[in-house]
Amino acid sequence: MTTTLGLDIGSRTIKLVVWESGAIVLTRKALTSYDPLAVCRELLHDAPTGPLVATGYGRHLVKEYLHCETISEIKAFAVGARAVFPSCRTILDIGGQDTKAISLTEDGRIDKFHMNDKCAAGTGRFLEIMATALGLSLGDFMAEAMSAEASHPINSMCTVFAESEVISTIARGIARPAIALGIHQAIAARAVSLLERVSITEDILFAGGVALNRCMQKEIENKLNRKVHAPADPQIVGALGCALIAEKNPKEEKKDGF
């Protein structure tokens, strides 16, 4: 009975997955904060022990301290996605602060990938800021968008300028649902542009925190004219991939007390 661990240290959230006897036995999530190492330690505190693999923006920061191997998030997602959805050939990940598209070969190896990690446009952060600008929680923001009868397009792609644009649009009396839908559609369009830089082959997996947003999923499906599958817990795909890779190549044991 092998236990392995995977950590996905993103710029906004850190996810932990513990994998044991072919199943996920524990998942934990926390905000990255300004001290990702401390957050990792908290997540690992009294979790089962075993070989650990880390990925994400913070992976090199913690490598020495947590005695773990690191892999790129592309690899982590490729492996995790196939575990969650074995027939998937294309992965779209919209995370807190970056987005990526990965296309896989038939046997699950990485074929092409494209990342946007230079700009928050079209990321989870963008959605958060827009929701706040509309005075809504993320859940209500999605609900309003889904209830909209029409869509009011937004022009700015820069997060900061889009926020100003939304505020001035509200001031002009445009209905909130229409603005909310317009925002979702703008992000969907960007996501599809990113996907078009790799090859789009079904089945398509939608991962990352933004995949929890049903409206986003629907708008991407509309734009792609194809079905897109969002797993029950889309945020842990990367961490799951890490835990699976740790199982295949157990290198270092996570040590207690550091």
Binding site: N155, S156, V192, S193, E196
Partner: protein
């Protein structure tokens, strides 16, 4: 900004201000008559050769934001919108004129276009002309004439037709007649204040592609008489105090004409359009009766002051002429996003109009989206405020 009850529209045919409709019907009609269609992107392609062969030249679609996302699946996002749009039209098969074209002519004007042509050259017979980049070199006219000669061979081979010297000479005379008519029409833009707006300038320029000199002459009679009416009635566009604007730089069409709209909304009147989409080509005359019409045509197109030329002295000369003729109060240099040649050259343009003509200028870097409309507006208003 005052808008009066203006006699018009300028063009008194059944299309009136529907420029696109007029052009579309014209091409379809020619096609029905069996006339082959040759697509082009740029003023350097000598249209007289195409006409002398009995074909009709068409400018291929290049100014819509709509086709850009499709282009960006292959082309980099950081590229001129004109190139992305053109490629996007082809990729989505939505440029009717490209679909109708039986051959396409390209030139090595700028890097982006040059490399984009490589990606479409397998779709239709495509001929790329190697454009010399140093217009002051002594053998440049010789080299370009050779390129035009090769174009002739390509056209004759592709269409199994002949381009006879005497027909070419007739087309030269035709072009010159039309250019004189249109160039003469620009005199109205030089009036203080002008009796027409930029849309009308574009509409009349658009007649070049769909008329012969006879047809243009009769239409022009109606145009000038309408404009004379306006002038006689004291009707003008804007007011005597409106800032007169010379718009220079990259070709402005379709979605990029947002800049022209913004200039007018901010209270300016556009009195001169320097770019290839405007007045640039109409002051150039092709030498007639030289005995070597091919060379004459080649030498004429080489006079186009595009920023791909180095150094582009002719552009400064043309600006001097236009400033003297149209007496603008400001110069606005429109540079399409990622257009390196016009962007780097803009520095010289700014200095020149300032030092030589004491005119304030503004560079606007933009693309086809409407995300930057308010930022452009702020800059234009600030420019006018500074007068």
């Amino acid at each position: 900004m005052t808008v009066f009850n203006i006699p018009g529209p300028l063009i008194n045919d059944r299309y009136k201000s529907d420029q696109v409709g007029r052009f579309l019907d014209y091409i379809l009609k020619r096609r029905e008559e069996g006339t082959p269609v040759v697509g082009l992107y740029c003023g350097y392609a000598p249209v007289e050769l195409i006409r002398a062969m009995g074909a009709v030249p068409v400018s291929l679609c290049a100014s819509s934001q709509r086709t850009i996302p499709a282009a960006e699946a292959v082309l980099p996002a950081n590229l001129c919108p004109l190139i992305k749009s053109s490629f996007g039209f082809i990729r989505t098969s939505t440029c009717l004129f490209y679909e109708l074209s039986e051959a396409v002519i390209g030139e090595t004007t700028c890097d982006g276009k040059k490399k984009m042509f490589e990606l479409i050259s397998h779709l239709k017979p495509t001929h790329v002309m190697d454009l010399p980049q140093l217009p002051d070199e002594e053998d440049v006219r010789e080299r370009w004439t050779e390129m035009v000669r090769k174009l002739k061979i390509f056209l004759e081979t592709t269409f199994q037709a002949e381009i006879a010297a005497d027909r070419l000479e007739s087309e030269i005379k035709e072009t010159n007649k039309k250019c004189r008519l249109i160039d003469g029409f620009f005199d109205y833009a030089a009036l203080h204040p002008p009796p027409l707006n930029w849309q009308e300038l574009y509409d009349v320029i658009g007649l070049d592609a769909v008329t012969n000199s006879g047809e243009l002459q009769s239409l022009m009679a109606g145009i000038t008489s309408t404009l004379d009416e306006r002038v006689a009635a004291g009707i003008c566009f804007g007011s005597p105090a409106s800032p007169r604007v010379l718009v220079s730089g990259c070709p402005i069409g379709g979605d990029a004409s947002k800049v022209l709209k913004i200039i007018e909304e901010a209270g300016g009147v556009i009195v001169a359009l320097e770019a290839c989409s405007g007045m640039k080509g109409y002051s150039i005359r092709i030498d007639e009766g030289t005995g070597d019409p091919l060379r004459a045509v080649a030498e004429a197109t080489l006079k186009i002051p595009c920023s791909c030329m180095t150094p582009n002295r002719s552009r400064l000369e043309m600006l001097d002429e236009m400033i003297a003729r149209f007496k603008p109060d400001v110069v606005i240099d429109v540079v399409l996003h990622a257009c390196h040649a016009y962007n780097v050259e803009s520095y010289k343009i700014t200095k020149h109009v300032q030092d030589r003509h004491a005119l304030p200028s503004l560079k606007i870097e933009t693309d086809y989206s409407d995300g930057d409309v308010e930022q452009i507006r702020t800059r234009v208003e600030a420019l006018f405020d500074s007068l």
